[in-house]
């Protein structure tokens, strides 16, 4: 990843463009991760039916790939810049600074959830119970101790050996996918699936994705699944943070390589973790699920999946914080990101409510992607003067800041006072921000 960020403030040169295989590997590795153990299992607990699951995942993942290909990749390959640097030119240094703090902090939350997932595996060996489904605060001293130790270790290793752990993560990637497949396959006989798969769909409908909601969980249907699959990485595609990766693509069509992450990760791995949780009587404990499904190797998979997912996440959060304080060394910002992450990981609500957290993450950051999209793709066609032409030495693009703020306030009001589901909101927020920003800029809001 250090190599990927070598051009952090300048366009990527032609000699550094990457092959399709590199992108396929990158996406496959990134989207078969610890979160998959949690997300697929929660779909079962939320009472989705088998047909809604399959249909929703097909539609949602297709929309996600299209968002990468038609929104993120064209801007990335035309500018060859990271979002951070392009946003600095469009929104000014102050907007970029605020964005980086928000983005970095939210990313710490995801890394914290990954530490919690790892803690469920370690907790198995130490007899520390996994938090209940309604847990918000730490459930025991043991849980706090385990998360703090894992968080501290992850932080130290992220500081000392980020590159080594990245290489380790590359090795883990194919094996991790095999763990999902193996875990699900080995659990199918326990659920009653015949060896010729003749009754698979019947078992899927009656014992796995039964449509029955676990107590205390919200009922999910087709559209919940479709929109979640679309927006769970909204910050990457609609929010444009994946410009950091796709600026190395020879052309915009490389955005379609995101399918190499969506199909194995956000289709198969989610379905496999659904099978695993159904086979352990819907107990939401990733460590237990994997241990029952694949023995000690499965528990190890959960531990290192959390670790290898948290590592680049900590790195990204550190990069975001470093953009705000460029004089600080990398180890110092990683230490700060690690400390925030470790404290957050003590609170099980982060992984228990991971689906909601990803939705909130999307709502918070996609308006910035909307602003960049409007500036780059729409304004030249609409004859609106682009911010890069008038911002000059100004430190803040006020219409952009207003757009971001208004969008978040409107989204919060919408979530509070209407029946619009959180999973629909990132897409609505993205559309609203594009329209709002275009209108106020069209009305002459250059200052």
């Amino acid at each position: 990843m250090d190599q990927l960020y070598e051009y952090d403030r300048e366009p990527v040169s032609d000699k550094s463009l990457q092959s399709g295989w590199r992108f396929a590997g990158l996406y496959a590795g990134e989207h078969v991760a610890a979160t998959e153990f949690v997300i697929g299992a929660f779909f079962v607990l939320h009472g989705v039916s088998a047909s809604d699951l399959v249909g929703g995942l097909l539609l949602g993942n297709a929309l996600a790939v299209l968002s990468w290909a038609f929104i993120c990749a064209p801007i990335a390959t035309q500018t060859r810049l990271t979002l951070y640097w392009y946003l600095r030119r469009i929104g000014g240094p102050r907007l970029m600074a605020v964005y980086n703090v928000v983005y970095g902090t939210l990313f710490c939350g995801i890394a914290g959830a990954m530490i919690s997932v790892s803690a469920t595996a370690v907790g198995l060996g130490l007899n520390i119970p996994s938090p209940a489904l309604d847990a918000v605060y730490p459930s025991s001293v043991g849980w706090v101790a385990v998360t703090l130790v894992i968080g501290a270790l992850m932080t130290v290793i992220a500081i000392l050996g980020f590159e080594k752990l990245s290489q380790f993560a590359e090795i883990c990637s194919p094996w991790m996918f095999v763990v999902f497949l193996a875990g699900a396959l080995s659990m199918l006989p326990q659920l009653g699936v015949a060896t010729d798969f003749s009754n698979f769909w019947e078992i899927a409908e009656t014992k796995i994705w039964t449509g029955q909601v676990t107590e205390g969980q919200e009922k999910f249907g087709f559209w919940h699944i479709a929109f979640f699959a679309w927006v769970c990485n909204a910050s990457f595609h609609l929010g444009l943070t994946d410009m950091a990766t796709l600026r190395y693509a020879p052309n915009w069509k490389f955005g379609f390589f995101s399918a190499f992450g969506m199909i194995p990760g956000h289709m198969l791995a989610w379905m496999c973790s659904g099978v695993m949780v159904a086979a352990v009587a819907r107990e939401m404990n990733p460590g237990l699920m994997a241990y029952e499904a694949a023995g000690i190797a499965g528990a190890f998979a959960v531990l290192i999946a959390g670790w290898t997912t948290a590592n680049p996440t900590l790195y990204r959060a550190g990069l975001a914080f470093q953009a705000v304080s460029p004089n600080w060394s990398r180890w110092k910002v990683t230490l700060i990101a690690g400390a925030i992450t470790t404290v957050m990981s003590c609170f099980p609500v982060l992984f228990i409510r991971l689906l909601d957290y990803l939705g909130i993450f999307g709502v918070a950051v996609v308006p910035v992607g909307s602003i960049v999209f409007a500036e780059h793709m729409l304004f030249p066609r609409l004859g609106i003067r682009q911010a890069v032409d008038w911002l000059g030495d100004s430190s803040l693009n006020r219409p952009a800041a207003l757009t971001w703020l208004v969008t978040i306030v409107v989204a919060a009001i919408g979530l509070q006072y209407t029946s619009i589901h959180l999973f629909y909101m990132p897409v609505l927020a993205w559309i609203f921000a594009v329209v709002f920003y275009t209108l106020i800029r069209k009305a002459g809001g250059d200052q």
Partner: protein, 56 residues
């Protein structure tokens, strides 16, 4: 050595894939499946880095 490490790593990953299929068909016990899976996983983590290191 490079080719051997690559080959062993691939075989190990293949075993990781094959043994749950055997488990699914009831050809091995749960304990045999989990032990074989763990050993094959260990082999993957030993030989895959060796083959990668030699590629650089």
């Amino acid at each position: 050595m490079k080719r051997i490490a690559q080959l062993v790593a691939l075989i190990a990953l293949g075993v990781c894939l094959f043994v749950p299929i055997q488990r699914f068909h009831g050809e091995v016990s749960d304990e045999q499946y989990k032990t074989t899976f763990a050993v094959a996983s260990l082999a993957w983590f030993i030989f895959a880095p060796m083959s990668l290191r030699r590629n650089q």
